[in-house]
């Protein structure tokens, strides 16, 4: 019973059932989304990215998707690391495919709908989790967040109680499986890390098949006082896949949130990553790696908001651009008036492998405090001819030498991943992806 409608039509008539939000609430936020409208050419933040034709396109919601096959699951699963696994297909968690090992008391991993059920049955932490929904995604200003809130049927959810450390990284495997026609997928993730808790979360997103799709993902992370979050996101979309993602982090006193976004494909990908350092001593890190070729267009937008004194942030993005790919980085550092002793760093480096590829870096600083340390820098280069000759002069064939140098360029990003069990699997993933880049 799959129906295809334009986005405007979907927003006018969202599914008449409870989804991520209640039926009434989703209608309300759908109206809001319609008012906000899709970002257009005059939208400065969307200057480099067009989702042309989206308004006219008839899209399915793909809610009754088939189950993914083993091959598809394996393609997105990092090897050699024990994980708890949530599987999400076209935005909807599939309980039968989830694999969760024994967990410490009070930890909640599952679908938001299951949490809602638990809350109704009197589970207080499930009720608390629900209170955090949609607080960070800016769905009053950001059209794609409003669209997600209106049309998402469910969400993946993580609740880590105060003082608890997740025993294994949580893998949220999120697949886009287009069926008859173009698909609009709305994955959603809500994670709340209690005070002094610790968690590693890996979001692995991928799209399959040759059908067009738009995946509009929203993830929200509440990192409470002195908690530690390591968040890795791997995005492997198909050549016909478009992705708009929003990841939102709120970091409280003395807590640390580190997020890494690896974009390894897709037609058009726009990642928006927003981190608010809300209380003193919070620290945040936003890293990104893009391995682009073909026609891939990647637009990374970061926004780090220093809202309290004595916070630290680091942003580091690296992009490899082959063939006709494009990589845009817009990095915003905002330092509020009383956010003294802010220490903020932003670096962006691009390696352009083809004359037809294009890299753009746009730092945006907005500093209202006076006692701050804020540095930023960006470089655009190509493969270094001296290094290449050095390797070849030692007997390493040209194509291997190129791959070694490209991998070396990426390896600084791997070095920033603190969850040590994730480093090797990520490294293998990069190596495999690069095998057809050089």
């Amino acid at each position: 019973m799959s129906q295809a409608r334009t986005l405007a039509e979907w927003l006018e008539h969202p599914p008449a059932r409870d989804g991520l939000l209640s039926t009434e609430a989703r209608h309300e936020v759908a109206r809001l989304a319609t008012l906000l409208g899709l970002p257009g050419p005059r939208d400065e933040a969307w200057r480099y990215t067009r989702l042309s034709g989206l308004e006219q396109e008839a899209l399915e919601l793909g809610v009754e998707a088939p189950l993914p096959d083993e091959h598809q699951l394996r393609a997105l699963t990092p090897e050699g690391v024990t994980l708890d696994r949530l599987v999400v297909v076209n935005g909807r968690p599939v309980p039968s495919l989830c694999q969760i090992g024994p967990l410490p008391d009070g930890v909640g991993i599952g679908s938001l709908s299951a949490m809602r059920q638990a809350a109704r049955e009197g589970n207080s932490s499930a009720a608390q989790l629900l209170e955090h929904l949609d607080l960070l995604s800016q769905s009053r200003q950001r059209a794609f967040s409003a669209i997600n809130s209106a049309l998402a049927e469910d969400a993946a959810a993580l609740w880590v109680p105060d003082g608890v450390q997740l025993p294994r990284p949580l893998l949220v495997l999120s697949l886009v499986l287009p069926q008859a026609g173009p698909l609009l997928s709305q994955p959603r993730l809500l994670a709340v890390l209690g005070q002094h808790s610790q968690a590693t979360v890996l979001e692995a997103h991928g799209g399959f098949g040759d059908k067009a799709y738009l995946c509009n993902a929203v993830s929200e992370f509440h990192v409470q006082a002195h908690a530690r979050l390591e968040h890795v996101r791997v995005q492997r979309d198909s050549v016909a896949g478009r992705r708009v993602s929003g990841a939102f982090f709120q970091v409280m006193a003395g807590a640390q949130a580190r997020t890494h976004t690896y974009t390894l494909g897709g037609r058009t990908v726009r990642n928006e990553i927003r981190m608010e350092l809300v209380e003193p001593g919070a620290s945040g890190e936003i890293n990104g790696l893009g391995l682009l070729k073909g026609e891939t267009h990647l637009d990374n937008h970061t926004h780090v908001a220093h809202l309290a004194p004595d916070c630290q942030s680091h942003q580091g993005f690296r992009t490899i651009l082959a063939e006709r790919s494009q990589g845009i980085f817009t990095g915003r550092i905002q330092v509020a008036k009383d956010a003294q002793h802010t220490d903020a760093v932003q670096q962006c480096a691009s390696m352009v492998l083809s004359p037809e590829a294009r890299a753009v870096a746009r730092p945006q600083l907005e500093i209202l405090a006076d006692d701050v340390k804020c540095t930023h820098g960006s470089t655009v280069g190509s493969l270094d001819a001296n290094s290449l000759f050095y390797l070849r002069s030692r007997g390493i064939p040209g194509d291997l030498a190129r791959r070694i140098l490209i991998h070396a360029f990426c390896s600084t990003q791997l070095g920033r991943v603190r969850a040590s069990e994730m480093v090797n699997p990520l490294d293998r993933l990069i190596t495999r992806t690069l095998a057809d880049h050089a």
Partner: protein, 254 residues
């Protein structure tokens, strides 16, 4: 082993080598001296196959085959090793990984099996010991943050691991303290055999006290203008290159 005949080469459209001829037999060590900018590094780079160095005429045969149509990595696998005047820093590539890739690539080219991890580590520690080097540097990225002398020592270390048949040392002795000079000369002398030849570019005769050359050549104005035994190096050290212009009609400063 190596036969260069009437070699002309240009860099960035400018002719640097202008009819250079040189023959190096198996087991021989030849020293090349000459003024700054005379073309010594150009010669070394042409032999190693660096891009941007265009041979316009002349020939180079190595082990009886035309060298100039081979890719740099083929030349390396066939036994040519260039110790760079300015070794390159490659952040993100660990030294040992780089060396193992290089060694295995060369072995594959020669139809040999790849070296096992244990054998490789044994080889590394054996050569480190031979050169009295500690293994700290090998754990770092290729030449990254190495001092000038450490980079030169690392070149020699790589040479010992890769065991070339023809080593081209481009001022590997420049900027070295006495101990490092010993490392370099020990490294070359360790390889000395009837199957190993070397072309040693240097400005200082003191290296030649440790690596005793069979022949010494003076390269000036893109050509070998004089050749002799090791006593020529002593003479050059005493008298400089002022004589070149008068004797051979070549501008010594070019």
């Amino acid at each position: 082993m190596l036969k260069i005949q009437d070699l002309h080469a240009t860099v960035a459209g400018k002719e640097i080598l202008k009819g250079l001829s040189l023959e190096v037999g198996p087991g021989e060590i030849h020293a090349i001296m000459g003024p700054n900018g005379s073309g010594k590094s150009t010669l070394a780079n042409v032999l190693a196959g660096r891009e941007g160095y265009e041979v316009t005429s002349g020939s180079v045969s190595y082990l009886g085959r035309d060298l100039l149509n081979q890719e740099p990595e083929e030349r390396a696998a066939e036994g040519i090793f260039l110790a760079f005047q300015y070794p390159v820093e490659i952040p993100g590539v660990p030294n040992l990984y780089f060396l193992r890739m290089a060694l295995n690539a060369q072995r594959r080219h020669r139809g040999q099996e790849e070296i096992s991890a244990e054998d490789f580590l044994r080889l590394i520690s054996e050569k480190l010991k031979l050169l009295h080097l500690d293994d700290g540097l090998q754990k770092r990225a290729v030449n990254e943050g190495f001092s000038g002398g450490e980079k030169k020592r690392n070149e020699i270390f790589q040479m010992l691991i890769l065991e070339p048949r023809l080593a081209l040392l481009d001022e590997t002795d420049s900027g070295l303290d006495i101990d490092a000079l010993k490392v370099v000369s020990d490294g070359v002398n360790a390889l000395r055999s009837p199957d190993f030849s070397a072309v040693v570019v240097t400005h200082y005769q003191r290296l030649l006290d440790h690596i005793v050359p069979d022949r010494v050549h003076v390269l000036a104005g893109g050509r070998i203008v004089r050749s002799g035994g090791r006593e020529l190096a002593l003479e050059l050290e005493r008298e400089g290159y002022g004589w070149i212009g008068k004797e051979s009609g070549v501008d010594a400063t070019r």
